[in-house]
Symmetry: C2
Subunit: 556 residues, 2 copies
Amino acid sequence: MSSERLIYLPLGGAGEIGMNAYVYGYGKPGKERLILVDLGVTFPDMDTSPGVNLIFPDIQWLAERRDQLEAIFVTHAHEDHVGAVSHYHEQLGAPIYARAFTANIARRKMDEFGYSEKSVRTVSPWPEITEAGPFKVGFVPISHSIPESSGLVIDTPAGRIVHSGDFKIDANPVVGEPFDPELWASLAAPGVKALMCDSTNVFNTHAGRSESTLAPEIGALIKGAKGMVVSTTFASNVARVKTLAEAAHGAGRSVCLLGRAMRRMIEAAVETGVLTSFPKTVSPEEAKDIPRENLMLIVTGSQGERRAASAQLAQGSYLGLKMKEGDTFLFSSKTIPGNERGVIKIMNQFSELGVEVVDDSGGLYHVSGHANRPDLEELHRLLKPEVLVPMHGEHRHLREHVKLANSKKIQGVLAVNGTMVDLTGARAEVCGYVETGRTYLDGSVKIGALDGIVRDRIRMALNGHVTVNVILDETDEALGEPWCEIKGLPEEGNSRAPLVEVLEEDLSQFMGRAGRKTLADDDKLEDGLRKLTRQSAQNEIGKRPEVTVIISRLSD
Amino acid sequence: MSSERLIYLPLGGAGEIGMNAYVYGYGKPGKERLILVDLGVTFPDMDTSPGVNLIFPDIQWLAERRDQLEAIFVTHAHEDHVGAVSHYHEQLGAPIYARAFTANIARRKMDEFGYSEKSVRTVSPWPEITEAGPFKVGFVPISHSIPESSGLVIDTPAGRIVHSGDFKIDANPVVGEPFDPELWASLAAPGVKALMCDSTNVFNTHAGRSESTLAPEIGALIKGAKGMVVSTTFASNVARVKTLAEAAHGAGRSVCLLGRAMRRMIEAAVETGVLTSFPKTVSPEEAKDIPRENLMLIVTGSQGERRAASAQLAQGSYLGLKMKEGDTFLFSSKTIPGNERGVIKIMNQFSELGVEVVDDSGGLYHVSGHANRPDLEELHRLLKPEVLVPMHGEHRHLREHVKLANSKKIQGVLAVNGTMVDLTGARAEVCGYVETGRTYLDGSVKIGALDGIVRDRIRMALNGHVTVNVILDETDEALGEPWCEIKGLPEEGNSRAPLVEVLEEDLSQFMGRAGRKTLADDDKLEDGLRKLTRQSAQNEIGKRPEVTVIISRLSD
């Protein structure tokens, strides 16, 4: 056990799509020097995390070992890969390495928190190498749906790891480097010990489509449109935004970018030289004076986000711009599972305005940024890894990807968040489990997903809330009657009397019946009042509300 | 204005998919004799209706005119068409007419509420006619995804209406009557004034597929499976359940039906003679003794519903039956938009158990019960209506269907819930708007969607809750310090002191500063304490909680 080992430990992103965070370590067990690849967020929903602002991986394991952590490497600038860097900077402290575009986005995040921009270090692509303890890390350009996405070559004393990052195989990605099969094949020369590989689209058996296939379709759509055209896509898909803007230009339309994220991404792409040509844009103010048949808006909010530009246009107007009968709204995007309701809602609002809504249901106006199964297989072939560890997927994706690897005589390892894998020997082996989970940013406070705080909020949403108040004097006699206030409950129940009165009547009777022991004991009294309130409400309205009992004791 | 008119008024189902309720009226304006077609429910979700049990159309308009209501006709037994009949029986009272299978289901609902089974009357299909005031109504068999679905011929003094109900064009629906083009064409003989038409699949341009196309695919899947096979579909899709059961039988497997709805539907189908042959089934007890490779379970829960059999199997076991490595779970169903998260969750739970999950992503194991665009056009052609009023669709579906009608020189009328359409003249005209909306069944109480009750619950879910308590003596002096209790909020905020203490400190200072006027005035005091609590919490935890203020005044 005293010999050195190479370990892999996902803290987020393995068993889910979101909040990526992958640890690699090399050294004596327990004393490994560590690096972290990506540090992302995932997004809350009403079902499981109402009121939560953002969700991070629980990095306690890593924070407790911050003196072992050499560096953080960020593969690309999507929120699920870079979104938590500033939130965890205080706890982890390690320098952050990324290519120029990603570093630009990361620095903006650090800046918002008042951290030095120097905490983020810009690196050049492979063959440049960053040394971090026993690791030598290179950023290998790979095509995805955001500029400068990279796979990582991680050379260790125990051999070469390739961490694919998010990727697709695209020979013509419109913006940025095409996928270079020769370059990727060359990485296999010294032998690849393990490939950690994107699994998002493992169930899709079709060949992937290039970003460049969209320009003719989008161009034809915009040329044929009569009124104003508005399109939404992920703001970070700079290639798509460019395709949309150029199609607009080609159809004699001025382009206006709406939404903070949209402008920020294009700005970052221009600043870092990723985007060398982009049609001239007009401001929202200028756009108002342009005839609608000569105007195209490119806006945020492809997932139906409530406050984004698309949702506001659907509700009436955004920055004074309005859509109307005869205009066209194009979703150049795919709805992420779970966001359907929000997207459908704005589609119907546009329908009410008489706006033509076009989406990708015909497969013409969007392509995925992730490798489908045949393209995953292509990467496997190019790299010939001894071991394949699927990542960036739900359990079903990881499992399918393991099966795919095994079918090709590659050892597949199913490692969900918290699973530590020892990659040192001839075969990879699970060597431990670490407690992981989710940390919520709730307002300005970080809380644990299992702290019970959000559970209590969900219960109030389902059951409503009653406050019960009793006052006792110094001899434990009730002063007056108990009374209550309700929130989120009907004012009248089955008996047609006010619910509050029904509850108070039952509470009074309870107080009358309660013995001295109960009245003298806060816990007993509270427990009795809570149970009675819940039962009384159950009888009257068929719900058992959450109850806060306030017992006041006068004593002087 | 004294002449008689024919009106159409959707109260639910037009501008949404769910809670269908369509009123027809004939007579002098304001004195029309009325009939109601369908009276369904829709289902709540955490985003908009947490804690709600069921959602009904707001039928106040109709309830106020119950003496004008002749009858309720139910086209088929799906919950969104029949689910509210018992809940509104007291308010509407009218007799309910349906064909045998639908009537069987409706009677079970009435029975649960203690209403007489006679409130539901079984009718035979067309050419049998039920007279209801000025209306003559016939049930015309039409294929859908439940037995005995019917379109309605509604003959009125102003002409013939055809109400399609939910339908597809299926020449071989496995259970029940095939779509009969000659019968439907014959309905057009006297001329069809208006067709109220299902719009669900208007955006789907492919030809519809027959239920019967599934048997070979499902059969091959089950034959090839090794361990236990479990399949889920809508319980009411009796044809599908039959196809699944026969495929199991053909592969030498015993069939066990799990879930109350599954057993109830098959029972109703057998009782009413709809289902004449169905493989022998075994009980869950018997199933436990059958080798898994000889067993097939057909279970409820195709939409990932938390308490259904599928979700319980995914979590471990249901009635002692467990799935394990090598078993297969088949979703012979489509995920309804909004249910993706629940379905994906159980898919991943099955993946963790090592169960092979098969769904309809390849298009092999499910067909829709609704007519695609070409089949809608076929019905238009057969009936040649003067007017087409799309129903059973969101706004975007209705709008698209109107465009489709207009392109065929049929007058299309876009009438969402609450829109009254006068069908008397040569052209249909919107003649009024009625206030409509949603009624929630919340526990055992009906509440209005806009009553603010659910809004308060959503706010507590997003913001948490604080109870603030102060006691004042008879001279309006505070007795002791104010104190508070929190629910759904972090125990510590930015200052690392207990949140409750931070709030109480700020509340104490407020009480110290408060003038006599404020202290003497409950409203002012409450308002001040609430605002202060919200501001104090905002500073400390970045959230503005909901606040209940309890002011106790001692007076004796």
